[in-house]
Symmetry: C2
Subunit: 198 residues, 2 copies
């Protein structure tokens, strides 16, 4: 299984935001929504072996599970609506136990540390960062948990978590790219394992 | 320079569409908008050496030029609004001469064939298709013009154009991926030229 954890530092923690202003009022939820789509969709299909965890302002985590997702639309607005619907049920989430808010979508009160540590139970944590080792020169680990940040850098507390649990720190490109684009590249890197680069 | 031509078969040709329903009423303009963002943005920057051409229902082409684009937002709604604004000025576009509708954004009456042929003046045309040769095993051409299709396959007429002008037919991934994700992978492929894959 592949997992992606994306820290959305400015993301909303209540459902009172407009779907018409995802970059502004919804704290770059446009970017987080694109991350979900980049992680989950193929042409006319879903990657069933993928989970994406959006950490919302280090307070909640909304998880999309490709194996049970239904009627998923790839546009930002539809994904943002799923996040908003999940936040409407935040009172139902007790402790770290997730509540499923639609098929394949769940919300929990896990912060960044709890989400990374929980994901790490099923894989090897790789921090994606522009200062990491070039991914093309590294043997990809199995069952990877890629951890990414939004338009902000990881916070000091997040870096401390990653220093403890990350098995590798990798860079995907010589020029810094958006998190959703990094997810596409990471998928392709794993999808083409075994190919010899010209 | 890198160029991307994306054929949007169901895309609107008039500005009477809602920004609230890009996948439906606006004919998958969500996907075309993500293609523009995938082609043009870096973290906190624009790829100035890139042009993206969206072919709208084989009737108009809206071109985004990274070298002159201003105040570009990466979300789908903002890009779709630029396309809508461009279509509002379609009466100003005479013949194949483009009209600039905002800095770095222009509209012309070029159809798919005219757009591909015009782009080919500045580069080598590569058709991205799931049945092409694996890109990782091929020497990337300079000044590439990548030609992609939306959620539909290329039409018969488009394939005829590509058979005439395309220098190569390449596949980016063993599993078919969305056009905007293919653009991310194509960029990464060129960005990491010279790296030896593990």
């Amino acid at each position: 299984m592949r997992q992606f954890v994306v820290s959305g530092h400015d993301a909303p923690t209540t459902p009172e935001f407009s779907l018409d202003d995802l970059p502004g009022g919804a704290g770059r939820l446009d970017l987080l929504a694109r991350c979900v789509t980049s992680a989950l969709v193929l042409s006319h299909g879903i990657r069933e072996d993928v989970r994406v965890h959006l950490v919302l302002a280090d307070a909640y985590t909304v998880t999309f599970d490709g194996s049970s997702l239904r009627n998923f639309n790839p546009d930002e607005r539809s994904t943002a609506a799923r996040v908003r619907n999940a936040l409407e049920e935040r009172q139902e989430a007790i402790g770290h136990v997730p509540v499923e808010t639609s098929p394949g979508v769940s919300l929990s009160r896990r912060d960044f540390a709890a989400t990374v540590e929980h994901a790490a139970r099923d894989g090897n944590v790789v921090q994606l960062h522009e200062d990491g080792a070039p991914v093309v020169e590294v043997n990809p680990p199995a069952d990877t948990v890629f951890v990414l940040s939004d338009h902000h850098d990881f916070s000091g507390a997040e870096r401390t978590v990653l220093d403890e649990v990350a098995d590798q720190r990798l860079s995907l490109a010589p020029r810094p790219i958006h998190a959703d684009h990094a997810i596409c590249v990471a998928h392709n890197y794993l999808d083409t394992e075994g190919h010899t680069r010209y």
